[in-house]
Symmetry: C2
Subunit: 312 residues, 2 copies
């Protein structure tokens, strides 16, 4: 049996679900259109050695590949529905693949995402996933919907994932705090339900993937305004502060990526409700352009730099 | 300016079109659902050194990446509408990218496909495209719809693309015939209109990507029947026969891949109309299982083998 046959078998066995007329196994999948909703589509590729260390366990790779795509749908306040998986691997090692699919499936089930199409290819490892979600077009949250006077708020804590990646790459002595930070990199949070719950309250929304300053910059550019971040209000986890000095932790929170928390803007009247939902107010939208931290521009803080460059 | 900035600029400048509420540039694209139709989704990845030689011109890579995905929609008799492009390249060489996008755009326009999302990543070169089409669910052509007694028909000629790839990899002296075969590899045909025109006449349908015997085998397996191919009736082009002896040409037609012609089954009553539309009858569906050629099983004819293995 061809070493890729196992992978094909897996794809063929993926169950159908409501709305999927034809799943994996034909030339294309067919899904039923719903009249009142719009479809929301996003695609993200993770390349070994660029977006994650090649040494990562396969289940962590599979989980993360799904979760970062689900995060794009959460950032639009859309409901995840379907995904396709284009998997490129150097060989068809069944043990690797089974572990990969375990993580993939766990994240897909957590994200309520049905796999409807797959393509497996031999080559340098990369995972490209396209997610299709649905949502009421009037409730989808765009980057361009911030207004001058809005506050900037973020869910959860920032900096943990970038710290976890740093710890993964280094040889720091393991601790329970370090292990939790590594898990924050490997298992991005699912903010779909939170995004849906607050969509009516928020202006612009984005997920923090490139880093706080960079992603706030995306909102500022799309909404044609300026954003000032109050560094002292950025939520930092106890785990992060147990491993890093406050200045280093803050730097990770400002410019590290991979947190996949929601970054939103909202008028003052909605801030109380957002705080009750778990958001922290960390800044404000102003007339102008660009992003400042405590009123000053950060030098060289243009966001997440991939930690390695493949030389394909 | 970051070398990838040009690529991002391109994606940001992609025009909107009817049905696209949010295109490239937000966390996800938003497309309007249509009530009466189903969505048809397919994904295909092309890896340099596996699916095409690394030395291929960038416009040929871009064109082919789109065309093979459009072909999956044609095989379902669906109308192409939207696509996402996940592009992984070793560096952001503007000249390469401009040429790539030229080929990509040409094929997308020929396929009536709007680019709604893109992700560009540094890494070993690969192109993963997800296409979304639409169609009347009752008219979509599945692999499983062949019936015993149906004839097997194919559009166009077979073997040209596999010959073109062989010529690309070799150092054979160039001729006008060889050049046309190479173009058949680089520019897969668009069979969308043809597929739509004959969808009411056909049973099963698939596109010839793995090779005639292998793809007939997919129909046979999905439809739970046997298929016998009459080798003498397989259409071979004058260009192919100018470069290869008949036996070699036939072997390429039977087991070479990449033709992206339509392979369909149809009851005898529909064969005349299909022949008028450009199809050639090349076999028949029988009770049983598997694929035979002139009544005999081909040994080792399990279809397209990628010409190279990347060692990522």
């Amino acid at each position: 049996m061809d070493e890729f046959a196992l992978i094909k078998q897996y794809f063929a066995s993926v169950g159908h679900r409501r709305g999927v007329d034809i799943g994996v196994g034909d030339d294309a999948a067919v899904i039923s259109a719903r009249s009142a909703e719009s479809w929301v589509v996003a695609t993200d590729t993770l390349v070994a050695g660029v977006h994650f260390p090649e040494s990562e366990p396969a289940d962590a790779i599979g989980y993360r590949a799904v979760a970062v795509n689900v995060s794009d749908l959460a950032a639009m306040a859309a409901q995840p529905r379907y995904c396709t998986l284009a998997l490129t691997v150097p060989n068809g090692d069944p043990a690797w693949f089974e572990l990969f699919i375990q993580g993939f499936t766990e994240a897909a089930e957590a994200g309520d995402l049905a796999l409807i199409g797959g393509d497996t290819t031999r080559g340098p490892m990369s995972i490209s996933i396209t997610v299709i979600g649905s949502g009421d077009p009037a409730m989808l949250t765009r980057r361009s919907d911030a207004a001058v006077g809005d506050e900037l708020l973020v869910s959860g804590c920032l900096g943990d994932a970038a710290a976890g990646l740093t710890l993964l790459l280094g040889d720091g002595s393991p601790s329970v705090h370090a292990e939790r930070l590594v898990q924050r990199f490997r298992r991005p949070p699912n903010r779909v339900a939170l995004a849906a719950a607050v969509a009516a309250l928020t202006g612009a929304a984005i997920d923090v993937s490139d880093g706080l300053v960079a992603d706030a910059g995306h909102i500022a550019a799309a909404s044609q305004l300026a954003i000032d971040i109050d560094a002292n209000r950025i939520p930092l986890s106890a785990d992060l502060l147990a491993v890093y000095e406050r200045d280093a932790a803050l730097s990770l929170a400002l410019t590290g990526g991979d947190d996949y928390e929601l970054l939103v803007t909202a008028p003052s009247a909605a801030v109380g409700a957002l705080q009750n939902a778990g958001f922290t107010s960390i800044g404000r939208c102003l007339a102008g352009s660009g992003v400042t931290v405590n009123g000053k521009a950060l030098v060289g803080a243009d966001g997440y730099k991939h930690f390695g460059h493949a030389t394909g």
